[in-house]
């Protein structure tokens, strides 16, 4: 596959790994956070940590939009789905996410009509085909996904489709990064920046990270060489005593992002004053809702939403894991009470969550795995 296989070359990885090892100062440990769950997935799927020297640790950040949805919002979505005459639609990612009273899959077992879609436009299509039903799309995702939802609402309005609405759970990445940077117990040397969010917002919004916090950030692609190269670029900056925003993923990410995508978000959505993130708590200006102008497509205005809050379980240490203070395996419930089948915390919920990725792909000492796979 083009623009994929070229960035999965083991020879180039070995060369890059040698450069990375050479850049590490003896005796110094480096921690870089990959903000985005997609990067976490790449790291585990390809076994990328095998190329990193012991001095370099990758910390898995909060950038999994499924994981950060608080349980109360899942319950609200299930409440909507269980109203008579409603077809709930969402991405496959959401199906197993547990709320306070189970997941979508369990709600389906109780009789709710919940359908998986590949695109919000598919949800609109279901609305067109079922004029006697209320079709609700549970929208999740960062700025990457928000424009698609906004475009779908614009399309619904243009076509005059009256039985389609969006339960909007879009979140924004910058306040989450800021919340992490502001937490007192955090030690990070730099960031691997979220590539696909940046196709929309561009690279400028990260400026404060370099300027005010003195940390490098390298916007990175999602193939393993992309991630490895962004570790390298972070280390080069540290070695040169710089902190800057760099774009490793220029083949896809324009420095200024996608102005049309930002415009459609601004047309249809506005910032919520505050939104609860699973594992991180309330963060100001960190999520989007549908504006008054598009109220007819806003499920939160159409349906009576219980709006209950379900506290994160006591034993769960997701907050610490998300901030990189704890490794997934250091959490008290990791792998025993909290597993991919029975997730307690946000990080175990989606396959991109830090804990789920570690459980599925990384769980086991790397030395032992390497020993076993030696030819």
């Amino acid at each position: 596959m083009r623009f994929v296989d070229e960035y999965r070359d083991a020879d180039k990885a070995r060369a890059l790994a040698a450069r990375i090892a050479a850049l590490c100062e003896p005796g110094r440990a480096y921690k870089f956070m990959e903000v985005c769950g997609g990067h976490t997935h790449t790291i585990y799927k390809h076994g990328l940590e095998d190329y990193l020297p012991p001095a370099v640790t990758l910390v898995h950040g909060p950038g999994c939009p499924v994981c950060v949805i608080p349980m109360g919002r899942v319950d609200d979505a299930i409440h909507i789905a269980e109203q008579p005459g409603v077809i709930m639609t969402t991405f496959g990612d959401m199906m197993r996410v547990p709320g306070g009273r189970g997941s979508f899959l369990e709600a389906m077992a109780r009789g709710a009509d919940i359908r998986m879609v590949y695109s919000p436009l598919d949800a609109l299509k279901i609305a067109r085909e079922n004029p006697d039903k209320q079709v609700v799309f549970m929208a999740i995702g960062f700025e990457t996904t928000a424009p698609s939802t906004a475009m779908t609402i614009l399309r619904a309005k243009a076509e005059g489709i009256g039985n389609f609405s969006v339960f909007c759970n879009h979140v924004t990445i910058i306040p989450a990064i800021k919340a992490i940077l502001d937490s007192p117990d955090l030690r990070l040397d730099g960031f691997i920046g979220p590539g696909h969010v940046s196709t929309v917002i561009g690279c400028r919004p990260y400026g404060f990270i370099a300027r005010d916090y003195g940390k490098p950030l390298v916007v990175a692609g999602f193939e393993p060489l992309d991630v490895l190269q962004s570790v390298y670029q972070n280390l080069v900056q540290l070695a040169e005593g710089r902190a800057a925003v760099e774009n490793q993923y220029a083949r896809v990410v324009p420095w200024d992002g996608n102005p049309k995508a930002l415009a459609v978000i601004n047309e249809v959505m506005e910032l919520r004053p505050h939104f609860e993130w699973r594992g991180l708590g309330f963060i100001s200006d960190s999520a989007l809702r549908v504006t008054e102008r598009y109220a007819a497509f806003d499920a939160e205005r159409i349906f009576r939403i219980p709006g209950g809050r379900v506290a994160d379980p006591q034993a769960c240490q997701c907050g610490e894991v998300l901030k990189g203070v704890l490794k997934p395996w250091e959490c008290k419930v990791f792998g025993t009470a909290c597993t991919p089948e029975t997730p307690i915390g946000t990080c175990m919920v989606s396959s991109e969550g830090a804990c789920a990725a570690y459980y599925n792909f990384g769980r086991f000492s790397r030395d032992r795995v390497k020993e076993a796979t030696r030819t």
């Binding site: 623009f3 060369a15 991405f91 696909h196 196709t199 896809v252 995508a261």
Partner: protein, 92 residues
Amino acid sequence: MCLGIPGEIVEILSDHPDLAKVDVSGVRRAINIGLLEGEALAPGDWILIHVGFALSKIDEAEARSALDFLESIGQAYEDEIAALRESMIEQG
């Protein structure tokens, strides 16, 4: 967090100018290109696909230069290894 896949535009649908038929490794789907307003898109162009929408046009020149950088690192590494081997042979 967001699965984005590169695909090649096969055709711009004439009855739906905001839709393009896109090929991913022999698999085809209609993708909404409404977010790439202002980009000149034509068959043969590559785009990044996310949830049925094209988010960005892939810049082949940038892709090339990134690969060149990786090649150069690889080449420098090969040279060093070769030099190291030679020096070891001389020492031996």
